[in-house]
């Protein structure tokens, strides 16, 4: 427990003393040669509540100190107080633009900890949901990124397309965004019959739209001017700062968790990993737009593979509650139902780590059981957290206006970062 600071020190802290920043900003800032400027937390281009303390030499960024934690809600601590099944809805709230990826990370960790199987049909359903949420998330990224750079119309188009996906999510889970559809062992319930037609018509509708975005942006001279040669990340820097996802691939490093450590049957799909060359804002934009095409490709294959009938969650009744239909006729099913919903299931006192490719990069989930029904510790390694920690390295030497482009291109979500 920290002791109370004296009243005078408190006063100086609140007014923001320069001494507090010694060693974090350059020596020139201490003498007033460079300017310290506060950006955020309510700046619209920080995509949430990120505060950056910029040190500026004229208009050029010398260094920046990101300040996070405004959206810290203690999700990891909360999960320690819940059974494994009941913790899933909390994970939705981390990366609120692709909740399914967070569900998946937590469910995969639980499945690994208790060695729970996932039926093949459930894996295909998961892949479809993950790719749909990847498209939905990239739509928000593309829209807001373009909006920050002054291309308003892209934003409206993107949100129109995203609405289709949110309706599909509402159809399957009852919720547009925080569906909590994935559960340890599979998914919550079977797909409704309208789902198949809805996804197929979405694929058909969406494919030409990608060309539309590209025709607006890819060769647009204003867009090229703002993005090419800005925020260049060297592949070595990207690796040592543990950047993942489109940021790493934009720098030309061919690493995608779906290819390197396939989960949920990704090894059976035929898709490519788009790569950038220069590692600038434009390459990251281009990689993500190509990822949209690959997602559509995966969706098509998955829809072809998906059987209309079959298991949607594991039949291991020690971990997965029985369906309603069994409760009327089987005493054992009632016992399982009662035990699972009142008490939960036991997981060993061991640790596991899983990772998967979310729209923003690699989400890692570290899970440590207690031997009882609740976890001892959950820790999410989130891509936005790693990317924001590297912002000082990426933005050094660029202009303030470029900072907007850089933040947009690394695609951060502050809920994902603060948890």
């Amino acid at each position: 427990m920290a002791s109370q600071p004296p009243a005078t020190a408190t006063k100086a802290l609140w007014e923001g003393s320069l001494e507090e920043l010694r060693g974090l900003v350059s020596q020139r800032a201490m003498t007033g040669e460079t300017m310290l400027l506060n950006m955020g937390p309510h700046h619209p281009s920080t995509h949430g509540v990120l505060r950056l303390l910029l040190e500026l030499d004229g208009e050029e960024i010398v260094t920046c100190l990101p300040d996070i934690g405004y959206l810290h809600t203690g999700i990891e601590k909360n999960i320690e107080d819940k059974t494994y099944e009941k913790a899933v809805p909390l994970t939705d709230r981390m990366d609120y633009l692709s909740p399914m990826s967070n569900n998946m990370a937590f469910c995969m960790a639980v499945e690994k900890l208790v060695a729970l199987d996932v039926p093949e049909r459930a894996q295909i359903i998961r892949v479809i949901c993950l790719e749909l949420s990847r498209i939905a998330s990239h739509m928000v990224w593309l829209g807001t990124h373009a909006l920050d750079m002054g291309a308003m119309s892209v934003f409206l188009y993107c949100f129109r397309e995203r609405e289709f996906i949110l309706r599909i999510f509402e159809m399957i889970s009852g919720q547009r965004m925080m569906g909590s559809y994935f559960r340890p062992g599979g998914v919550w319930r079977d797909l409704p019959t309208e789902f198949y037609g809805a996804v197929n018509s979405f694929i058909e509708y969406f494919q030409p739209k990608i060309d539309d975005y590209e025709s607006i942006l890819t060769n647009n001279p204003i867009w090229l001017d703002r993005t090419q040669g800005v925020g260049v990340i060297d592949p070595d820097v990207a690796l040592s700062w543990a950047m993942t996802g489109a940021v790493l691939r934009g720098s030309g490093v061919n690493w995608d968790v779906r290819k390197a450590m396939p989960y949920s049957g990704y090894e059976t799909y035929d898709f490519e990993v788009p790569l950038g060359e220069h590692g600038d804002v434009y390459d990251r934009f281009y990689v993500r737009v190509q990822e949209l095409r690959q997602s559509v490709k995966i969706l098509k294959q998955a829809m072809k593979k998906l059987p209309k009938k079959g298991l949607f969650r594991s039949e291991n009744r020690k971990f997965v509650p029985p369906p309603r239909s069994e409760l009327g006729g089987s005493m054992e099913a009632v016992i399982h139902h009662f035990k699972l919903w009142t008490q939960g299931f036991d997981a060993p006192d061991e640790e596991v780590y899983v990772s998967l490719e979310s729209p923003r990069g690699e989400i890692g989930c570290y899970l440590h059981g207690t031997g009882g029904q609740k976890p001892r510790r959950v820790h999410f390694k989130t891509p936005s957290f790693m990317h924001i920690s590297a912002l000082p390295v990426i933005s050094e030497g660029y202009l303030i206006a470029d900072m907007i482009a850089i933040i947009g291109s690394v695609d951060i979500v502050l809920g994902d970062c603060d948890r």
Binding site: M1, A2, Q4, P5, A7, T10, K11, L13, W14, G23, L24, I68, G69, H72, G74, E76, K77, N78, E80, D81, K112, L113, A115, L239, S240, W241, A242, V253, W255, A260, M261, E350, E351, V352, Y353, S355, E362, G364, Y366, H368, R376, R377, H379, K381, F385, M386, I388, S389, A390, V393, D418, R419
Partner: protein
């Protein structure tokens, strides 16, 4: 370019750091090597730079609290810190684990080997109260600067934060000097 054949990380570490290894364990195909905290920097350097190992990517640093702590072979101290390093070349992951004592949890920082450890260590320092010796920036990361205690510890109860009303505002602000001085 010739790629060096993959080495067995466990055998290699046993050859080079035999005194530093506390125990090893495999669970669900995940290899855990627990080591002494004072050797962590050298081991990380070794894992990153040795041809045949090349763990070039720091996936995660996670902390765990074994409260109420009963010393055992697998939990020698109260706090555990798990480093997950990943080798892109050989496509495999390794967990290095260190333990920190309850009364003064101190572990050397690995920020010199993996810059990505910067915020991961800062977060653990913030929520778990483990000090990383040599870390250049030990301010709080996720919580406000005037927060008391470390909420990820198992002996901190859930939801004991008092809600602020006009009748108890003075009591609460005693614990939040920065909020008080803004009034």
């Amino acid at each position: 370019m010739q790629i060096a054949p993959a080495l067995d990380p466990l055998k290699n570490l046993q050859d080079h750091f035999s005194e530093a290894i506390v125990f090893t364990k495999t669970f669900r195909d995940e290899l855990t090597i627990a080591v002494q905290p004072n050797a962590i920097l050298e081991i990380m350097q070794h894992l990153r730079n040795t041809p045949g190992l090349v763990y070039n990517f720091l996936s995660d640093i996670s902390s765990v609290d074994y409260h109420p702590h009963i010393p055992s072979a697998e939990h020698p101290e109260r706090f555990g810190v798990s480093y997950h390093v990943y080798s892109m070349l050989y496509n495999r992951r390794l967990r290095i684990k260190v333990f920190a004592a309850e009364d003064a949890p101190v572990i050397p920082t690995i920020i010199l080997v993996y810059p990505a450890a910067n915020w991961l260590e800062r977060e653990i320092h913030d929520v778990m109260g483990i000090t990383f010796e040599g870390h250049p920036d030990q301010r709080r990361l996720l919580l406000p600067e005037d927060w008391n205690g470390h909420p990820a510890r198992r002996d901190v109860p859930m939801g004991k934060e008092a809600i602020q009303f006009s009748f108890n505002v003075e009591d609460i602000l005693k614990h939040k000097p920065r909020a008080a001085s803004s009034n």
